[in-house]
């Protein structure tokens, strides 16, 4: 599968990464190189194979459930301390509603 320039622009938009027009061709070539290489997986017979979704080795107990309790909170100042822009106890962003 080879990506055309429209798909490259769409993927960049989905990823929320600004892609200047003059970089589209280079990025397209790089992505197609990698996608061409991973294409070889299509040759593997995976009929009836259950996908491995996590990193836990097989035969090891599944993820545990915990009590549904509040374990955190009341640390707004700590959380806001790294904000590039804040207004009061909120993160500041450009106006989104006219």
């Amino acid at each position: 599968m080879s990506l055309d320039t429209a798909t490259v622009r769409r993927v960049a938009a989905l990823a929320r990464i600004r892609l200047p027009e003059e970089e589209v061709a280079r990025v397209q070539a790089e992505l197609n190189g990698i996608l061409g290489w991973i294409e070889q997986l299509q040759a593997v017979d995976t009929e009836g194979v259950e996908p491995m979704a996590g990193g836990t080795p097989e035969g090891i107990a599944a993820m545990p459930m915990r009590e549904d309790l509040v374990t955190d909170g009341g640390i707004a100042e700590k959380i806001l301390a790294n904000a590039p822009d804040r207004e009061g106890a909120y993160f500041g962003v450009p106006k989104v509603v006219e």
Binding site: R16, R18, I34, W37, L41, A53, G55, G59, N82, P94
Partner: protein, 497 residues
């Protein structure tokens, strides 16, 4: 002996008998960093004042009879672990200025046991790379150099390149790393030291900047296998804050280093014999098997038939998870924000992420976004998860025949800056021997075992059953004893530069 020459086990003994204080030991390392790190660039953030203060507190604890297992041991911390109050960058511009309000569980465990932190070690951006050259804070110089070309600037490997270089150059007694596809084992091999990626779930991932959550594991670097075992025991353990962390006891890994390998069955996977592998790597592998045979192990040929699909599988799974994990860097809550006058929110996201992420990270996010996108998910991501299951099954079947597997750690010795950079896939091939253990969730240890014709270190890798790091340490220590690896890097503390 210069204090920077200690092993961790040796330093612990010297501290216990009062031959040296934690403050003296830390000061020696702070001075080594001052003397060498201008050239090596192993640290993004140095914390000499905090380190000396922590060392004095450590000496006070020892006087009160409260010494922990790592009391007074100075370490470097990969700058992917959040450290409360100390800038954590992940090697990226996008986290510039980020000061975590909390501590990762692994570093909290090390502090609990008395360790002293010298600073935050350089790394490939978001741990994506095999050379440390994708760091926004500059490359790291490998302290080793080629005999016939001593001026060539060699890379330390990656992504944990700063950690490995710091330990090799005697700027720290040990270091933390993380390993998603080989990011501990490959730099350990390139820098002539030991490093282990434990079983997935052995160490908590809480507070480690996430790259690919089903593959990431923390592990230690040190100059001996036993030192790695000592560090891992402190780093590991169940953590309710990471639902994938394993609720099982942490064994005394250091004790396992003294176990005999007599009667162990060591697997040799035929698929790891690759065309184009340099003859010195083949030779070292055969030598490693011979050492284990002489120590009483039985060598068994095995097959891991899906090995050749491991790298392409990884380059779907890891970018897919990365594209999701890195969605959080949006210029709103922490780190960099780039906006023009009149930018709307979307423009703010797009400009921030274009400016904040380097080329390799942008590339992987886009690959991941594509393979997860509507219409392609089944063909790429689901397919890769199925092939991953087959790779894990290959290992499971091998464990019926063998107790551990021996392979080379890397397909070459350290390369120079500028080599392997023309094509991303060429760089990816560095992880050909290590990535399978991440996909299958298995422990893998790199141990220095010899030199190439240029005098550069080469490593062997021991892979073990899930949660059987003890056998891995036993085999690794047997190789270490047989190899008697004594070579030293050209740049190291105590040597006039």
């Amino acid at each position: 002996m210069h204090p920077t020459e200690f092993t961790i086990a040796g330093a612990a003994a010297a501290l216990a008998e009062g031959a040296i204080s934690a403050e003296e030991l830390t000061r020696a390392h702070v001075e080594a960093i001052e003397a060498l790190d201008g050239r090596i660039n192993a640290f993004i953030t140095r914390t000499p004042e905090q380190a000396l203060e922590a060392a004095r507190a450590s000496d006070a604890r020892r006087r009160r009879g409260e010494a922990g297992p790592l009391e007074g041991i100075p370490l470097a911390i990969k700058d992917l672990f959040c450290t409360e109050g100390v800038q954590t960058t992940a090697g990226s511009r996008i986290l510039g200025g980020f000061i975590p309000p909390y501590e990762s569980t692994v570093t909290a465990n090390l502090r609990r046991d008395g360790a002293v932190f010298l600073g935050k070690a350089n790394l490939d951006e978001f741990a994506m790379g095999s050379s440390n050259l994708t760091s926004a804070y500059g490359g790291v110089l490998n302290p080793w150099s080629r005999r016939n070309d001593p001026e060539a600037r060699l890379v330390p490997g990656g992504s944990s390149g700063g950690s490995a270089a710091a330990v090799a150059a005697r700027m720290a007694l040990g270091a933390t790393g993380t390993d998603t596809g080989g990011s501990i084992r490959q730099p350990a091999a390139f820098c002539g030291i030991a490093g282990i990626k434990p079983t997935y779930g052995r160490c908590s991932r809480y507070g480690i900047v996430a790259f690919a959550s089903s593959l990431d594991q923390a592990g230690p670097f040190a100059r001996t296998v036993e030192d790695c075992a000592i560090l891992l025991r402190s780093m590991a353990g169940h953590d309710p804050k990471d639902s994938t962390s394993a609720d099982r006891p942490v064994p005394d890994f250091a004790a396992a280093c003294g176990r005999s390998v007599k009667g162990l069955r060591i697997g040799v996977p035929k698929e790891y014999r690759l065309d184009g592998t340099p003859p010195e790597i083949e030779r070292l592998w055969r030598q490693g098997l011979e050492w284990l045979r002489e120590a009483g192990a039985e060598i068994v040929d095995i097959s891991l038939p899906h090995t050749k699909y491991a790298l392409p599988t990884y380059y779907i799974v890891a970018p897919a998870e990365a594209s999701s994990n890195l969605a959080r860097y949006d210029g709103v809550r922490f780190g960099l924000r780039v906006a023009e006058k009149g930018s709307d929110l979307r423009d703010l996201y797009e400009r921030t992420r274009a400016a904040g992420f380097g080329a390799e990270v942008r590339r992987r996010i886009m690959i991941g976004t594509y393979v997860l996108s509507a219409g392609y998910y089944d063909a790429y991501y689901l397919k890769a998860q199925k092939v991953r299951a087959l790779i894990a099954r290959d290992f499971r079947e091998a464990w019926a025949k063998v107790d551990a597997i021996l392979t080379p750690a890397t397909p070459s010795a350290a390369f120079a800056e500028g080599e392997n950079t023309d094509d991303p896939i060429k760089m990816y091939l560095n992880d050909v021997f290590t990535v399978t253990a991440n996909l299958a969730g298995l422990p893998g240890l790199a141990v220095p075992a010899g030199l190439d014709p240029q005098g550069l270190p080469l490593g062997l890798q021991v892979i073990g059953r899930p949660f059987d790091e003890e056998t891995v340490f036993a085999v690794g220590a047997a190789i270490e004893r047989a190899a008697g690896f004594k070579a030293l890097p050209a740049i190291r503390a105590g040597v006039p530069g």
